[in-house]
């Protein structure tokens, strides 16, 4: 009986074949000789084998998808710092801060009137109380990182001429402090900042429209339009929710020098085909007709759209006429 008990204790190890060869041989010898242990072992063995014959389930794809989201959520995000200053700007900023501090002290000193002299005491001002002055930074565009990261909340955008520098412009705005970025019109930082202002729908309609107007006023005589500006205008035409802004975008695209870039032309065709507002479609067909009139080569997509519009019964009459005129210009 003692041997039966020992063998049964070893049955779990017999099942997974983890007994040493000697002990295994000994156990099997007993199982052959002992009917009761033999029956027990046969039952164990058959049950163990029968449990094997079941397929593995596949992990549902949604579990993996959810886990990937968790990875994303747990991964530390880099801190987005808009307008990263280049290394050499730091001493400049410190110098500017000193100037502001000294200037502020001077202004404060001018505004504080000296106290009435007390009898017998000389008129002495012990200290000058500084009047807090909001930080006003003027940054050269070349010192601003051209890549605008995140969506900085810039407000009160104004466009400035830089005195004595004909080819330079200034874009002033409030971020955490009042900032003016100045630089050449074709400086990548100026271009990207402009593009950002035109496309950012967080800004008021007026601000977006003013920015586009400013581009129209300042970029029509500078050679071929910058591709980033064209791309931004095309995006405005396609995505802006306000028809007035979209119209301004068409007018600006139309006024830009050089051959209209494919992106701009595609945006005009898209507006002509899909814009819900007839005034925008009229402006778009006008722009395309102007192109035809200027002898610009017309690609198949433009021609097909003009043809479709010219014969579209339910289209605005002006759009149809303008489309027909454009086709006439290119002898089609």
């Amino acid at each position: 009986m003692a041997e039966c008990s020992a063998v049964r204790e070893r049955m779990p190890e017999l099942l997974v074949e983890s007994l040493t060869p000697g002990l295994r041989e000994e156990a099997h010898q007993h199982i052959e000789d002992c009917a009761e242990c033999g029956s027990e072992w046969s039952g164990f063995r058959a049950t163990w084998i029968a449990m094997e014959d079941f397929p593995e389930r596949t992990v549902p794809p949604r579990v993996r998808a959810a886990f990937l989201q968790q990875i994303d959520a747990l991964t530390p995000k880099p801190v987005v710092v808009p307008f990263r200053q280049r290394g050499f700007f730091r001493p400049l900023a410190q110098a500017a801060a000193v100037v502001i501090l000294v200037g502020g002290s001077f202004v404060a000193g001018q505004r504080i009137s000296a106290p009435d002299p007390l009898p017998g005491n000389p008129a002495v001002v012990d200290s000058v109380q500084l009047i807090p002055i909001a930080e006003n930074r003027i940054i050269r565009a070349s010192q601003v990182n051209p890549d605008i990261q995140g969506s900085p909340d810039i407000q009160n955008v104004r466009f400035l001429e830089v005195p004595d520098k004909n080819n330079e412009v200034g874009i002033a705005f409030d971020l955490k402090s009042h900032v003016t970025v100045t630089g050449r019109r074709d400086d990548p930082s100026v271009i990207n900042l402009l593009s950002y202002v035109m496309q950012n729908r967080e800004h008021t309609t007026q601000a977006r429209s003013s920015a586009i107007q400013w581009v129209q006023d300042n970029y029509t005589s500078t050679g071929d339009a910058d591709p980033e500006i064209v791309k931004a205008l095309a995006n405005v035409l396609k995505n802006d929710t306000h028809e007035g802004v979209r119209i301004k975008a068409v007018e600006t695209l139309k006024s830009l020098p050089g051959t209209l870039a494919p992106e701009a032309r595609a945006a005009l065709i898209d507006a002509l085909k899909n814009d819900p507002n007839p005034a925008v479609r009229i402006k778009a067909v006008d722009a395309l007709a102007n192109l035809a009139q200027a002898g610009a080569p017309m690609d198949a997509a433009t021609v097909d759209t003009l043809r479709a519009k010219a014969s579209q019964d339910d289209e605005n009459l002006y759009v149809r006429v303008k489309a027909a005129e454009a086709l006439n210009q290119i002898n089609l």
Binding site: R8, E9, M11, P12, E13, L15, V16, S18, S39, S42, G43, F44, A46, T47, W48, A50, M51, E52, D53, F54, P55, E56, R57, T58, V59, P60, R62, V63, R64, A66, F67, L68, Q70, I71, L74, T75, P76
Partner: protein, 193 residues
């Protein structure tokens, strides 16, 4: 791409490269999910547990020192989650409701054979559910995951001897349940008496 060992992948995860956790997920999620499903017999809970295991793996990656196999550590987390789930759940009445619905059919078998297999598995699943959670854990890790009794002892937080006792008791119960001619229309296991 170079194949990295479990330890190398975990080192990267410990260093904050969580993107490598997806590779570990792909290596072990199948085993974890099947263990959790058989333990809990509830596919939704098994899905939750599987996801939670790998999230915990990322959160507590620094607690993995590499002195045990990664699989052992992951099964340890899984078993804890499953035990917690069983403690908290009040849905024992739901057990067994979904086996026939969720088993994948084997295309090489006839529909009748597939049905028979499903019924067989349902009986095994029911039998497994009649074990204590400790016994079930030991059987599942040993029979289906091929872990040694020493590894199971590490996961269960008990001695190796205790694991062997649990397996023995579990096998006695399973043998009785699965060979009982009254528990089905046929004697399911052809056990020599």
């Amino acid at each position: 791409m170079k194949h990295l060992s479990d330890q190398e992948l975990m080192k990267l995860v410990q260093d904050g490269d969580f993107s490598r956790a997806a590779e570990i997920f792909d290596r072990y999620s199948g085993r974890i999910y099947n263990f959790a499903y058989r333990f809990l017999k509830n596919s939704e809970a098994a899905e939750d547990a599987t996801q939670e295991v790998f999230v915990k793996m990322m959160k507590y990656a620094k607690q993995f020192h590499g002195d045990a196999k990664l699989s052992t550590w992951l099964f340890s987390i899984t078993a804890n989650l499953c035990r917690d789930y069983l403690r908290k759940s009040e849905n024992k009445h739901k057990e067994g409701e979904e086996t026939l619905l969720t088993l994948p059919a084997n295309q090489s078998y006839s529909p009748e054979r597939n049905l028979e297999r499903r019924q067989d598995e349902e009986r095994v699943q029911k039998a497994l559910q009649s074990l204590t959670p400790e016994q079930r854990e030991a059987i599942l890790l040993s029979r289906y995951q091929g872990l040694s009794y020493a590894e199971i002892a590490q996961i269960a937080g008990c001695s190796e001897g205790a694991v062997k006792t649990r397996v023995f008791r579990a096998m006695e119960t399973l043998k009785k349940l699965l060979s009982d001619p009254l528990s089905g229309e046929k004697k399911w296991l052809n056990v020599a008496q």
